[in-house]
Structure formats: structure tokens, C-alpha cells
């Protein structure tokens, strides 16, 4: 059995699976159920200053794809709509009852030092393990100068983070919005302000769909809609990229990361950890299936680590990062070709048509005795992978390496590159 315990910027938990700040972490009732199910920690639904915000009815939108529901999900909900004192009581109790689990409190207040000092003072005696500064929400709060309105301006991130660090010793995670051109600026600012780590990504600005009868975006609230925060499995690649950027940048490579964004199972979590995350946060998958999914997350990660011989998360954390390079350093001599397994091919023709219409016309149809089969023309195949992805039969099309495996040349020295560096 591997040791799954994690330490995210000084916040310890028995496993890296935390619930992100969201409806599942809104009150004692849910969080207790979550801890009973095995979650390693929670980031409490964002607290603000009373009076509490109000929410609309009809709050979520979803993208269903090919029969799978909630592949993408968005919301126009705001921070907690419960009075501050109620939340503080709940947090205090949960931490007392579950001392080994991480309880982090998410915060969002107006951009003044006084307000931040006020809220920090309030949460300090709950016994929580840390704070997460919500600089991410892209809707509702941002129009009031909070959330992503702060997260999109590195100077504000640094300033608010500094205010917080000046009035508390609690570990401080800065939650970043992906709605920026370069996430590294935000991460640098968090670090400069004294933040102990970053949490990302918050939701992506989105309109998930338009009701073509009402002619209004969904979710539709009395005939109107608003942009909302997009999350769920669909955003995982965006999150993975941003986490990688931070893990790889010289300035932030040692900055602890709590990864968020479409994480639905242990495999997703392992990918984020391999890309440098110290822990992960989950929301949409729980909103879809409930807290019980953590059973497979813990069990699956454990079994996989045992199989690979990793004893702790640190054994594989960040080890994929050095393999993320710039395009110009990729080996141009590496060459793969599509291979079609005749024995499992069902002759749907998708490999042919995807290549024929959209790639390199490298798969020909051969018709014999009323049957058809498909053949790769090696000299045309550029090894793009498209046919492999279009093929509905798993492992029917694979890519085979055909180069010698010993040669290396990248763009920096290629003859077609006008800016090439002369070798020797």
C-alpha cells in the first residue's frame, strides 16, 4: 500500500483528494458526508462579508456529448449565500470532529485591506488549516470588483495576498482564474505577495448553449442569461496546461500547486501530480455522482502506485514536467506510421475519410470480391494520429515507429529555418 498523504503548501491531508470550494462544501452536512466517504480535505465554499449574496433560480448549464452527460458544466452561482457566522460555526465543528483532514477556507471580500483583515480575523479561530483567496470567479462577483477582477490584474493579486499574509500565519493558497493570457504572471504575483501556493484553475468564462426558442443563453433566467464559469471534464486539458506552465517556469517551479479542473478519477489526479501538483481538488464529478467516487480515486491511485513502485506522491510528483518542451526542440527525425489491424477492423471507413478529406490521403480503400479493406500508404502517412482517433475500435489502429531511433534533429538547426543555428 502506497502512502497517499500529501502536503500542499504546509497543509497536510491523508490523501490528495480535496473537494473544491463549491456547493458540495457549503455546509457541515455535506462536508461530514464527504469526510465519511474518505475525502482528504475540503476547501470551504467561499465566504464573504454579510449580508450574504443572493442567488438566482436556474443556475447551471451543461454540455452533454455523445450520450455522456455533463462533459462540460457551467454555473452562474455566487459565493456562499449563508450568513458568515453560520459558516464559521460549521467550520469550527468540522475541524474539531475531523482533525486529520484538511479544512481550507475560501475567501472573497471587497478589495480593501480593512475587509481582508476583518475576514481573516473571523476565520482564524475556526481552527482551519489554511485559506484560499478566491481571485477566480468570472461571473457576478467580478462585476463588483472581486473574484477574477482581482485575478486578472497581477498587481492586485500581489497586493491582496500581501495584506492577507501580513495578518495571518495560516498557509495561503491563491486561486487563479484561467481567463488571462498568461497564467505565469498571476502565479508570479501570488508568489511575490507571499502566497504559499496557488490553486488553479477556477472556471472558464463561457456560454454553454443558446435556447433557440427563447433566443437566450442557457441557463435562462426569466428570458435572459449571463456568462458563467465553465468546468468539468471538458476543461481538464486547459487546467493541465496551466499547471504545467507554472510547474515549469523558473520563477514558480517550486511554488506548491493545488490542481483543479475536470478531475474526475485517480488517473486525472495522477496526471496533474506528474505535472507537479501537490494535491488536487474536485467538484463537477462529485456534483454528478456524489462523494462515493473518492473510493476509486484512493484505491485506483494506490493500486497504480504499487504497480509502478511509487511509495509516496513525491516519488512521481513533477516527473513529467521535464518532458514538456518547446516545439522547436521536438525531434523532427522521429517518424511513426499508422497500422491497421485487419483482424479487428469493422470496415467503417472513418480512417479513410478523415485522412482523405482532412489529412494526407494516406489510407486507400481496396475493394475485393464485394468486401473492402483499408491500407496505409506509408510514403503519404505523416503520422498525425487522426485515423487512430477517428477509429471507433480500440487498438485497431496503432502507430508504429519506423525511424532508426538514433537520429535527432530539431527546428533550431533545420535547413528550412531561416533563423537556424549553424551546427558546429
Amino acid at each position: 500500500m502506497a502512502d497517499l498523504s500529501c502536503n500542499v503548501a504546509g497543509i497536510k491531508a491523508p490523501n490528495p483528494f480535496w473537494l473544491a470550494s463549491a456547493p458540495p462544501t457549503d455546509k457541515l452536512y455535506n462536508v461530514e458526508r464527504a469526510f465519511r466517504a474518505g475525502w482528504g480535505g475540503v476547501v470551504w465554499k467561499t465566504l464573504g462579508i454579510d449580508p450574504p449574496i443572493v442567488n438566482v433560480s436556474s443556475r447551471y448549464g451543461a454540455v452533454h456529448y455523445n450520450g455522456q452527460r455533463m462533459m462540460g458544466f457551467n454555473n452562474v452561482e455566487l459565493i456562499t449565500d449563508r450568513p458568515l457566522e453560520d459558516n464559521l460555526q460549521d467550520i469550527k465543528k468540522i475541524k474539531k470532529d475531523w482533525p486529520d483532514r484538511a479544512v481550507v477556507v475560501s475567501l472573497m471580500v471587497p478589495c480593501t485591506e480593512k475587509d481582508w483583515q476583518f475576514i481573516i480575523n473571523k476565520i482564524e479561530d475556526t481552527g482551519c488549516d489554511g485559506v484560499e483567496l478566491n481571485f477566480g470567479c468570472p461571473h457576478g462577483m467580478s462585476e463588483r470588483g472581486m473574484g477574477s477582477a482581482v485575478g486578472q490584474v497581477p498587481e492586485y493579486i500581489e497586493m491582496v495576498t500581501r495584506w492577507v499574509k501580513e495578518c495571518t500565519d495560516l498557509p495561503c493558497l491563491v486561486k487563479l482564474t484561467p481567463n488571462v493570457a498568461d497564467i505565469c504572471h498571476a502565479a508570479n504575483a501570488a508568489k511575490a505577495g507571499g502566497g504559499d501556493g496557488v490553486a488553479l484553475i477556477n472556471t472558464v468564462n463561457s456560454i454553454v448553449s443558446v435556447d433557440l426558442d427563447l433566443m437566450a443563453p442557457e441557463p435562462t433566467i426569466d428570458g435572459k442569461g449571463s456568462h458563467g464559469g465553465y468546468c468539468g471534464p471538458a476543461v481538464k486539458p486547459i487546467a493541465l496546461h496551466m499547471v504545467t506552465e507554472i510547474a515549469k517556469a523558473t520563477e514558480t517551479k517550486n511554488l506548491p500547486i493545488s490542481a483543479i479542473g475536470g478531475i474526475s478519477n485517480w488517473r486525472d489526479a495522477a496526471e496533474f501530480i506528474a505535472m507537479g501538483a501537490a494535491g488536487v481538488q474536485v467538484c463537477t464529478a462529485v456534483m454528478h455522482y456524489g462523494f462515493k467516487i473518492v473510493d476509486d480515486m484512493i484505491d485506483g491511485l494506490n493500486n497504480w502506485m504499487d504497480e509502478k513502485g511509487y511509495e509516496t506522491l513525491e516519488d512521481f510528483r513533477g516527473i513529467a514536467v521535464p518532458n514538456v518542451t518547446e516545439w522547436q526542440f521536438l525531434n523532427l527525425k522521429y517518424d511513426i506510421k499508422a497500422r491497421i489491424d485487419e483482424s479487428t477492423c469493422i470496415h467503417c471507413g472513418l480512417c479513410h475519410i478523415s485522412c482523405e478529406d482532412a489529412s494526407h490521403q494516406a489510407i486507400r480503400i481496396i475493394k475485393e470480391n464485394g468486401d473492402r479493406r483499408f491500407e496505409v500508404i506509408d510514403k503519404e502517412c505523416v503520422g498525425c494520429n487522426l485515423c487512430m482517433f477517428a477509429c471507433p475500435v480500440p487498438d485497431c489502429i496503432t502507430m508504429e515507429r519506423v525511424d532508426s531511433g538514433t537520429e535527432y534533429q530539431n527546428w533550431t538547426t533545420h535547413e528550412n529555418n531561416p533563423m537556424r543555428v549553424e551546427e558546429n
Binding site: Q68, Y289, I293, D299, G300, P394
Partner: protein, 445 residues
């Protein structure tokens, strides 16, 4: 004079191997993932309730979809040590798959049985076992009968740190899984591979060729052991109650299924050209289909009531029919016809329900010719197992047990087909054995 046509080798070896290959080939990894993703991961899922061993089905399926096959297998085996066999032989259409919400939604339930087989097969290939014995309790328990109930009980006892001694009447363990289930349901000697997996935990001693009432006495076991678990199954068969049932060509289906399962060369087995099977349960289906697969020309399964009353599920009935078995409902055998001491046919009376819903003969008769007749009308507890010992209380032909699987005899538990805990299914027996072991453990503590 009717020509009686019973002979071996009706089909070529190739044809026989094809006929007796896996009736439902396993899923490959691609199909398994697609199928696993059809599961909705229901909350408090109805399929779990429908499983006698309460396997957490949505959880094991989710683990297949995430590639955590080991975790998936553990979820299954921790509830049901014979999860591999059950995946093959359970009538899933009336259990988990019958309860699947996708059955309700669109009559296309998740193929739970096949997914369970996928997960368990992948683990069994590793030759490992999840299970470790608890510290030895120093207690010895006699388990009488090495079928599903007995092995399940012995395994759970071993997990709990007890020493189990299994007394098995036959040469091999696994009971009906080895001797009483159609060959195409469990190919490649699966029953014995499963036994190896179960015994891997250690702490289970096996004594074969030990028949209760003959080689060992219940009285002695009660003296010698801290507890006794009876899982003796049903060793006798019901008879038709007709005159001269002992004539040649009239067999008990269970005997022939046993012979078939133990046969090394199917081409050497004799099979009638025209076969009639009397009965309406799984055994009747198994012998009818196997006769057909051995090359019988006409196989008729004759049942005295309609398709709804059959113990065989609709899927089993359909399987028999698509394999060329004719199912004749509403006929009851009245007399056997024979020539020179060999059966040649059966006289049936047509049956119907009277206005009160009771079965009655219509007075109309049908004659069917046959070279071989199989009786598959149920099995009975064998009285001889208790010879020379005090008998436990019997009710409805089965050993009476309470909710703890205790018999009327102090220190004697019972489970499996020999008690009336539920349907006579492998999965029910596994559950009985498991629950009895837990009960014995509580009592011995």
C-alpha cells in the same frame, strides 16, 4: 418395431469443440470500457439489492472505466469469493441486470455479468489473492460439502483466522460448478482454477472422497470440531412417479450432465436421436441444449405449465430455443412406452389451469417418440447423509435454519441448496456460506 437410435460420435470433433466452446465469449478491454461507461453509477443502486451477495456493482464498474481493474476485482471478491463463476452462471436477467435502471429505461441493461467476468478474469490471471488470514483463532470447523456454499464458508472462516476442514464426497471440489453446470458456461476448467484461487489463502484443509453418513458421521464431527457447517446440497432426484421408470434410455439429467462435464472426449458420449427432457428449470435447459450440441436431431423440453411458470428464466428458455430445442408447454407425462426394455416414447396429457388457477389435465393426450428421456424435475436432500447420527430438523424437504444459518442441532450450521434460504443458485450458496461463517465466528468468539 421402432428403431432405437442412441449412438456416440454424431458430430465431428471440430463441430463438438465449437459447440462446447464458451457460450458467451469474454469482453475485450475496449468493449469493457464502453460497456462500463454505460453504467450511471446509481446511488444506492437497485442492482446491489438484487445481488444475493450484495456486490457494490456501480463501484466495481466505475473501477473498470478508470482502469483500476485490481480494485474492481477486490470489490467483487470481497463480497463474493466465487465472483468469477457467478459472472458466468448467474441468471443476471432476473438478478442484477433485471434490476438495472437501464432495463427500466430502455430494456438494455448494463451487461453486469460480462463486466464482472472481465474484472475477475483479469485478476485471476495474476495468480494473486487479496486475502490474508487473521491471526489463528485455534478453532477448527468442519465444512461438509465442497460446493459453493462450503468453499465460501471455508474461505471466510480462513479469513477470520479459523481452521476449516472441508469434507467432500466426490473427487473434486466445487460441487455443481464442477459436476452440474453445462460445459459451455464454464470452459477451460474454470471451476478448478477458481478452487485454486479460493484455497490460496491457506488454512483450509481438504479431504475428498468423504461422504457424510458413509465415510464420516455427523455425530463424530460434532465431537471433534468446534462447529460444523453442512453444505451437502441435494443428492437425490425427484422421480416422475410413472411405472417402470428404471427402463433403459430414461436418465436423471444430473447424472448425464456430470458424465458430460467429466468426459475427456465428447465424441464418445452416446446421445439419442430424439430426446425428451421433462422439467422446466436450469438443469432441464442445460441437458436439452447439451443434447442438441452433442448432435441429437430432435430435442423437446416438455413442461407441464407455461413459460411464465418455468424456473428457467426467459433468457435461458430463449437460449434453448435458439439452440434448436423445441419447448412444449402444458404437457405432463402419463406413461412411458418401451420395447425390449428400452424407452421408445412418452404419452403426455395436455394440461390447463382450472378457473381457480389450479393445474388439471384436459383429457387430451399426445404421444411423442423418444430414444432417450431425461428427468429434470428437481433434486432432494439425501436422507442417508444423517445415517447413524441425530438429524437436524427438516422443513419442506430441506434442513431448517434460522437467520443465523443455525440448524436445530447445537453447533451445526447449514447453507446452500440443502437449506431453503432462497433460490438454488450458486450466488445464493456463496452468500449462505459467507453468512454462516460470520455467524460461526460470532458464536466462537
Amino acid at each position: 418395431m421402432t428403431t432405437i437410435d442412441v449412438q456416440a460420435g454424431r458430430l465431428s470433433q471440430e463441430q463438438l469443440s465449437e459447440n462446447f466452446s464458451d457460450a458467451h465469449p469474454p469482453l475485450n478491454s475496449g468493449n469493457a470500457i464502453v460497456e462500463a461507461n454505460r453504467c450511471y453509477f446509481c446511488f444506492d443502486a437497485p442492482c446491489i439489492d438484487a445481488c444475493p451477495t450484495a456486490i457494490d456493482i456501480p463501484n466495481f464498474i466505475r473501477k473498470i472505466s478508470t482502469g483500476n481493474l485490481k480494485g474492481s476485482a477486490r470489490d467483487i471478491f470481497s463480497q463474493n469469493i466465487m465472483g468469477g463463476m457467478c459472472a458466468r452462471v448467474c441468471p443476471t436477467e432476473t438478478l442484477c441486470e433485471g434490476a438495472c435502471v437501464r432495463e427500466t429505461q430502455d430494456h438494455q441493461p448494463v451487461r453486469i455479468g460480462e463486466l464482472q467476468r472481465y474484472a475477475t478474469d483479469s485478476y485471476l490471471e495474476t495468480s494473486e489473492t487479496f486475502f490474508e488470514r487473521a491471526e489463528s483463532s485455534g478453532k477448527k470447523i468442519a465444512v461438509v460439502g465442497g460446493g459453493p456454499a462450503g468453499l465460501s464458508c471455508a474461505h471466510r472462516l480462513a479469513v477470520l483466522g479459523h481452521h476449516a476442514v472441508v469434507f467432500e464426497a466426490r473427487e473434486k471440489l466445487s460441487g455443481l460448478n464442477e459436476y452440474g453446470i453445462a460445459a459451455y458456461k464454464t470452459v477451460n476448467d474454470f471451476a478448478q482454477r477458481e478452487v485454486d484461487f479460493i484455497l490460496k489463502i491457506g488454512g483450509i484443509e481438504i479431504r475428498t472422497n468423504q461422504r457424510l453418513g458413509q465415510d464420516v458421521k455427523l455425530e463424530d464431527l460434532r465431537q471433534e470440531f468446534d462447529a460444523v457447517f453442512l453444505s451437502v446440497g441435494l443428492g437425490d432426484v425427484n422421480s416422475l412417479g410413472l411405472e417402470s421408470e428404471e427402463i433403459a434410455g430414461v436418465y436423471d439429467a444430473v447424472d448425464t450432465i456430470l458424465e458430460l462435464r467429466q468426459s475427456v472426449n465428447l465424441a464418445e458420449l452416446s446421445v439419442g436421436r430424439r430426446v425428451i427432457v421433462i422439467g422446466g428449470g436450469s438443469t432441464a435447459i442445460d441437458i436439452a441444449v447439451q443434447s442438441k450440441k452433442l448432435g441429437a436431431e430432435d430435442v423437446t423440453l416438455a413442461y407441464r405449465r407455461g413459460p411464465e411458470q418455468m424456473n428457467a428464466t426467459w433468457k435461458e428458455q430463449e437460449f434453448a430455443q435458439t439452440n434448436g430445442v423445441r419447448v412444449k408447454h402444458w404437457v405432463a407425462p402419463k406413461s412411458l412406452r418401451s420395447e425390449n426394455g428400452h424407452v421408445t416414447g412418452i404419452e403426455f396429457e395436455c394440461m390447463e389451469l382450472n378457473p381457480e388457477g389450479k393445474l388439471r389435465g384436459t383429457g387430451e393426450f399426445r404421444h411423442m417418440e423418444a430414444d432417450v428421456v431425461f428427468k429434470a424435475i428437481g433434486q432432494l436432500l439425501e436422507d442417508s447423509v444423517f445415517s447413524g447420527s441425530e438429524m437436524p430438523a427438516i422443513e419442506g424437504g430441506k434442513i431448517n435454519v434460522n437467520l443465523e444459518f443455525e440448524t436445530s442441532l447445537p453447533g451445526v450450521w447449514a447453507g446452500g441448496d440443502c437449506v431453503g434460504s432462497g433460490e438454488d443458485l450458486t450466488v445464493q450458496s456463496v452468500e449462505d456460506g459467507k453468512q454462516a461463517a460470520l455467524s460461526i465466528h460470532r458464536r466462537l468468539k
